[in-house]
Symmetry: D2
Subunit: 346 residues, 4 copies
């Protein structure tokens, strides 16, 4: 059975997902697209064998030829489309953020809880990266003992001109927020942001780098170095320190070259190179689950927690103080984790 | 457009390819299967949404619902099915060996040459491994200078009971033969096999390990260590030594674990773990090309060369002497290399 | 010329230094020893070809057969012997701490400044480790741009029964304090200590692990993970993040072993194994300088800064707050750095 | 007690050993030097506190102020000075080769055997390298099972103008000959030399690179890649393949640098950088043993075996054939191995 997918928002990310569904993964096709720029939607549809362009996200979600929806429109519109998908009883894949405010996230949690089943997956693709999955498997296997600290490093070679200092929390560190919750299987209860000497290669208005520190409910401590103009590469570092051992992400280079007095390997150029396989795996797993009428992966709850923690992170960055975080009570629906690492890796 | 694929031979490897086409890669489906064990073919077809079981390979190749064929039956039958595919003007993916004798390979070369276009791809999946592709890109980029030596290591944890000493050349080292030709872009003109002290963990009748040495036409020297009972893992090593630098396969572990006085990472357990992505890429590229009516990847000529070199390797192992190798003249059809490494890796 | 050395305090560390002077490094011999336990001093002297046991540190320092002194007695006695050496105009190597209070350190600074020449070297042996020296050379070479952060990891497999929580700052992190000042060539102006979930393998009275955070005068941020019961090894980690690159300590294993599905190498068992060469280099350089009548390496100022920062660290650990640090004005005498990385390493 | 050493031959290597004895290691001093260029000997002696220049090696060996001799004169003179040292009953450290012909080596074996005690150590410094020692400890510990193959790589960035093709065997691979015997604890019984495509960066008269292959008495196979103009660095590679695991030399870089899209570390520039510590350790152990009146390390037998194997290697390179090697019977004196790896490393 082929899953019919409607894509809301066909900008760069939406187009990349369409390419993935059409040319890379198995079991799905794009049957409808829509966009705030309807001409763009029409042009995209014209290039696909079986897709039509529709006027609105609501229309797309209601279309009988759409089994499941992908939301990659502008963040503030996510709530509307996710709620519409829940109302229609259709599985929806929503790019982060789930919604831009705590209240909007809570409305989604309420709607999905009322529906009585999980319908929403949030696009935290790092949970599908083989490195993070192997880290998780090692932690869950008990080999390193209880995790006590997580050192995360999130390094971008540069950021686009429209990037603002808020985005270092909301767009960059949001991934580390989710990964910390995933790896440590715990909620974040307080946040601090320390700023370092500014990188002189960063735009004048940016705070870069920062050290974003979380306290987990169980006491583990997380420090995230976010460097957004580090030039040399897109470098994602991570190490979990346990009671009697550690696990860390390895370099990802497939070959080692020796020349001119040195040995070495590549560090990825950008997030596409680093996480391309994670995106593919994420989509294949979502399509497989959606085809069975099930949801999988990061849930609305995960999207909600990320939004709340990033709000606190922004407050902490502005105030320089420790900010406490309190989530609402977790509905039963979200209590079973369905993401687990693959077997056979460490 | 979806490519309709017929699969000849649905043993372990055939079933794995069906799984790959159905659940992993994009753009194809299995429409027909056949097997020397017809009941097995029927059972497999019954589990697929759109496939029928056919009596013979010839019938499958002739079926109008089959656009392209995959041959993964017993080696001695490959020639017949590949020739039939060529006769039918259909693209065919043939698992190694292309054929079991030099003469059979030459009949295939003649038929394909007469057809005037490439129709055959041979399943040397290592050419699709990101490690070997990155090695090739470094060599072709000129960074290390002209390649002078290639040290290859092919280590199996163990081999099944039916494995014979001939198979260390024909089934194990055949991959190194192809990789050497691929990386160095050159033909093998002589072979030697040296045997080492026998691994006491190997069955009594096996020669293990061996050092299989090739001389390339351009003078580069290749040494392949084949260890087939090395217990610890399935470990594929490779280093090309150039005039002013080297390039070697990195370890493939996604994480590093520290515990009990040591740091370390996994080495793959078996060829499935090591090359799973190479198989996926191989099939996606073949499907993409076949859908465009083109061939790609390792050609009949590559299959022919591998068979001829392995024949020489067997003679060399038996005699202990250097054995010269002479290929026929290469038809024009095969002179353009179509396999190249991906951009963006090193 | 052979340098005649007197050793004050012949406990475990003093004996190890005697072994080093006698059996490892060149250009010195031990001519006198003393200890609070005079019998121990006599026993040690008896085992040396040219050494006598003296009653007191003062007597040893005044002895004409002592050219230079080593102080490795109990911390609270350091001030007295260092001041006596300065008074005698003799070079003195003092194990950390230089002195146990800010005031005592200031008395030493005053005395040495009054003497008009450097006579004191403090035993911060990490500055002689080839890893830290290579890091320093890379930073100073400008390759990674201005340093913005330093992530340090200080992991002990376990600590002895008499270890108290204060010691995690005063005895463990004191090395990271000095290394941060050395690598970043800057003073520490504020400190914070965050505590993580407690390692259940630590004694009940210990705080373990901690994240000790410094702010440098120039704005760089330093985070030191101190884990003192991590079981697996003695593991010293360090990474400096610059504006356009990073430099980090490599693993120290001389060989990689493959077995049982894994590859890996040793992590040192204890500080002796990890820093044995640093101690040897430290002594050779001190002996060479002292033989020329010069001082070298970490100065009284470095010892003073370490004591003041650790005092602030203790306050920060107790209060949970950020604690500002203010050093007195640096005398001219200490303004020229004499420690530099060796050439030829990176 | 200080060991009084006489140095025969004060060219570049002799001067380096004098520096080592004087400034680095403990327990010895240079009391006499001689050289074919007497003026050079006098100049060197003048720069040392306690040394005199003597006319001949014989005079030096006979001098009562010389306890032990170091021979680093021109190879063809080694026999004479080693025999004189044996005759004088003094310990002698002889740089490789022990002697330039099999017959000369046999005369030394006879003399030392007649003397009834080991007096000769040959300067195969790789046995003192922490990498090779750790490899040896792993092999001897049984962790990887019986060793079956040893892959060695010996890469020089370039060679001086006077270097001849014979030297690739006699001066370069001689170290791999000794290391193979050391690691595998076995004698070499046959040799082959295969030549690869010539490095275009090598002088016209040189054969470069070569693959020098040994068969050990116990059946293990050794392949040595010798590349003498590889430009990028001085790179020493080694991997022993056992029945159920492997051990290989790690890279020696103390730090990893990230910049410009890559991570990496240094490979040593030359043999001094790579083996500086091995030379220091070699001398300290020889001095310690000689001070006790004992010999240690690579013996005359090891020097003899190296010379005989290199002779065979030259024949093999000239003929292109396999050459068998037969050593005389090993005198009892040499049957106890005294070199063992240090404890505490792997």
């Amino acid at each position: 059975m082929t899953l019919n997918i409607g894509v809301i928002g066909v900008g760069m990310i939406g187009q990349d997902h369409i390419r993935r569904i059409t040319q890379v993964v198995s079991g799905a096709r794009v049957t409808a697209v829509t966009d705030v720029d309807l001409d763009r939607a029409k042009a995209i549809a014209a290039g696909l064998p079986s897709a039509k362009a529709l006027q609105t996200g609501q229309e797309l979600i209601d279309d009988p030829e759409v089994d499941a929806a992908i939301v990659c429109s502008w963040g503030p519109t996510h709530e509307e489309y996710v709620l519409a998908s829940i109302a229609a009883g259709k599985q929806v894949f929503c790019e982060k953020p789930l919604a831009t405010t705590r209240e909007a996230c809570e409305r989604i949690l309420d709607a999905e809880t009322a529906a009585g089943k999980r319908l929403v997956m949030v696009g935290f693709m790092r949970r599908y990266d083989e490195g993070y999955r192997a880290m998780k498997a090692v932690i869950d296997g008990g080999e390193i003992g209880a995790p006590l600290m997580f050192h995360s490093g999130h390094r971008n070679p540069s950021v686009p001109g429209h990037y603002t200092s808020d985005m270092i929390i909301n767009d960059t560190c949001v991934h580390d927020v989710d990964v910390a919750r995933f790896l440590l299987d715990d909620e974040i209860v307080a946040a601090r942001v320390l700023t370092a000497r500014k990188n002189s290669l960063a735009s004048e208005h940016l705070t870069d780098p920062v050290l974003f520190i979380f306290e987990m409910a169980g006491g583990a401590l997380v420090d995230v170095e976010a460097s957004i103009n580090i030039q040399y590469a897109y470098d994602i570092r991570g190490e979990v320190v346990g009671e009697r051992g550690t696990v860390e992400l390895a370099e990802t280079n497939p070959v080692v070259v020796k020349g001119s007095g040195r040995f070495g390997g590549r560090v990825p150029e950008d997030w596409r190179e680093r996480f391309i396989r994670a995106y593919d795996t994420e989509f294949q797993e979502w399509i497989d689950a959606a085809s069975r009428g099930e949801s999988t992966g990061p849930s609305s709850w995960d999207g909600y927690a990320a939004t709340v923690v990033c709000d606190a992170g922004l407050k902490a960055m502005q105030s320089g103080e420790r900010v406490e975080i309190s989530l609402g009570e977790q509905p039963e629906l979200y209590r079973t984790t369905t993401i687990t690492g693959p077997t056979g890796t460490d």
